[in-house]
């Protein structure tokens, strides 16, 4: 089961190492990771995606809380969040392939952010499903390089 955990930490050197170290020594694999400052520059948010059983997630959250620099932890409910990742895809593309690629890119509301004689670069933001779909469609053209950020997520506002 994929779980998304959002961790607020003190923005200090070594904190990320402590958190990732905790995961590895307790035997958990981090699927994706994103780190950045929040509106308060003293506090950073770490968004982690982890595959684990419910019981293990509970234990890992408790262990995370024991780290002195960890301020708050939220396990996000996947049905009530907006999740995004950003992916840059460099494709091998000559002039003949470009129209078709452009068409796909438009359908996905992605952007072409760089064009060269034999390649171009596509930028897409979205959830994993959308990103994966685009990746699959672009693969036949020849992906030269693919760079993705870790997943970030935010819970939706209350609906009542």
């Amino acid at each position: 089961m994929g779980h998304i955990i959002s961790v607020l930490v003190e923005n200090k050197a070594g904190v990320l190492a402590k958190i990732s170290g905790l995961f590895s020594r307790r035997g958990f694999n981090i699927e994706s990771l994103a780190v950045g400052p929040t509106d308060d520059e003293k506090i950073s948010r770490i968004t982690l995606e982890v595959n684990a059983e419910e019981h293990s997630i509970e234990q890992i959250i408790k262990q995370l809380y024991k780290l002195i620099n960890v301020i708050k932890i939220q396990e996000l409910n996947p049905s009530n969040i907006v999740e995004r990742e950003l992916v840059l895809i460099k494709l091998s593309a000559d002039s003949k392939a470009r129209p078709e690629i452009l068409e796909i890119v438009n359908v996905f509301r992605a952007n072409i952010v760089d064009v060269a004689r034999k390649s171009l670069m596509v930028e897409i933001t979205g959830n994993s499903t959308k990103v994966r779909a685009l990746e699959d469609l672009l693969r036949p053209f020849g992906i030269l390089e693919l760079v993705r950020t870790g997943k970030i997520a935010c819970s939706r506002g209350s609906k009542d």
């Binding site: 003190e10 070594g14 020594r25 408790k62 780290l67 002195i68």
Partner: protein
Amino acid sequence: MAKITGAQMIIKCLKEEGVEVIFGYPGGKVIPLYDALFDSDIKHILVRHEQGAAHAADGYARVTGKTGVCIATSGPGATNLVTGIANAYMDSIPMVAITGQVSRAQIGTDAFQEADITGIVAPVTKHDYLVKDVRELPKVIKEAFKVASTGRPGPVLIDIPLDVTTDLIDENFKVEINLPGYKPTIKGNLKQVKQAAKRIAESKKPVIFAGGGIISSGASDVLKKFVKIAKIPVITSLLGMGSFPEDNQLSLSMAGMHGTKYANLTFTEADLIVAIGVRFDDRVTGKLSEFAPNAEIIHIDIDPAEIGKNVKVLIPIVGDAKIVLTDLKNEYENYIEKKGIPDRKDWLTRIKYLKNAYPLKYDRNSSKIKPAYVIEKIYELTGGDAIICTEVGQNQMWAAQFYKFTQPRTLVSSGGLGTMGFGLPAAIGAKIGRPDKTVIDIAGDGSIQMVSQELSTAVTNKINIKIMLLNNGYLGMVRQWQEFFFKRRYSQTCIHNCVDFVKLVEAYGGVGISVKKKEEVEGAIKEALGINNVVLVDFWIDKEENVYPMVAPGSPISEMLESEMLEGV
């Protein structure tokens, strides 16, 4: 405003934290710190190896309840502390370790004697700091002591680059501490405490499982009061020994791999376990799926991560053992006042029967020196009033089994990490902490050789500890496993006659007494206790004596190996 160096600021801050003694070893990167210490009235005990400093600080902390402090230089000095820090971490002992570090500009360059000590100790400390600015020192030291000594205690390491200790700072410079992510829960949820009281009153076969948390929170008196009212038998973990007097008829001593048979059977028959300040370690539970099959569990612990980690819990209560137990006692009293005192005559009769039917045994008629006999004599001749430190292995288990611990903070033993070589330096720390007490290290000939250089520390500082060495010429606990599970193939466990321990202690200026006959045991212990010096008594015990009972690894604790020879003794 007068300026002082970072080193002087460190000493000033340590004084403000009430530090009276430091265990340590100087080196290149802590010379300024030791220079500042030279002018201070804080006592410093120079050990012979940094591991000894960490263990001594640990032993000091265990007997006093104060935070132990140790210092080492950068690189190898710091890495030599690691075992001692890990030991304190596993047993939740408050400790502040200060290490020197190469100057800021050299960090990350593989400079001489550089080690990334904060990186190395992260998994075995409660918290760590690398101080990069002299102005951080007052705040960091204050935070370190707070983190080490509150909540679930543990070691904190402060790594201080050389040039931070020589930088100047206003002597009154202060910054408020700031720990936004650190708020240990102290008071237990009263609704859950009420539920627990009710469940305990309804239970037909309850048992209390008391751990080191009782001792670190100072809850022993409350526990005794609660037991007196509720009449519930008490089992302890190794680290919980002394939290409840073992001469009380409701004490069932220690459970687990080498626990008493009656404690293990009580767990197995109980319908309710009230666990306080324990973490259900595998050495206690044996095969987890068959541990206490009939029992529901109320788990009280200050660390929420311990609750539900190993066993399923019916009522979790996060909080300080003393505060929660006080509330629990009051709620229990209220409950039975309204609903009447529960009738547990059958259960208490059963407990009494188990205690009588399955006492700890050894061959009392043997002409050889039995280790259990030595421990019993030590108990008798000290009136049970000594502080007992142990090494790790058979000596430790015999000490736990045959010495009756009646007071908290009287057993100093490496539980979680099982660190051979802990006992001697820990005894040094314990004696510094409690100079009024007789401090005994019950040692094994394997363990003590890991740290025997600390005999020098003890003798030169007139720290008159008594070492009772149970010498069997083996790495006995491993040999026992080889006997049981590896067809007596004693691979690398025989260390017969490798050193004359009497001469060894004499070489350091202490007193050695050799005991090779059973009749000499009592006299030797008396003599040792009477000598105003470090004394090592070398007991040549029965070489292949085993620790019984024993739960084989992977077995449920209800299935214990016992010596057939001992039937009927």
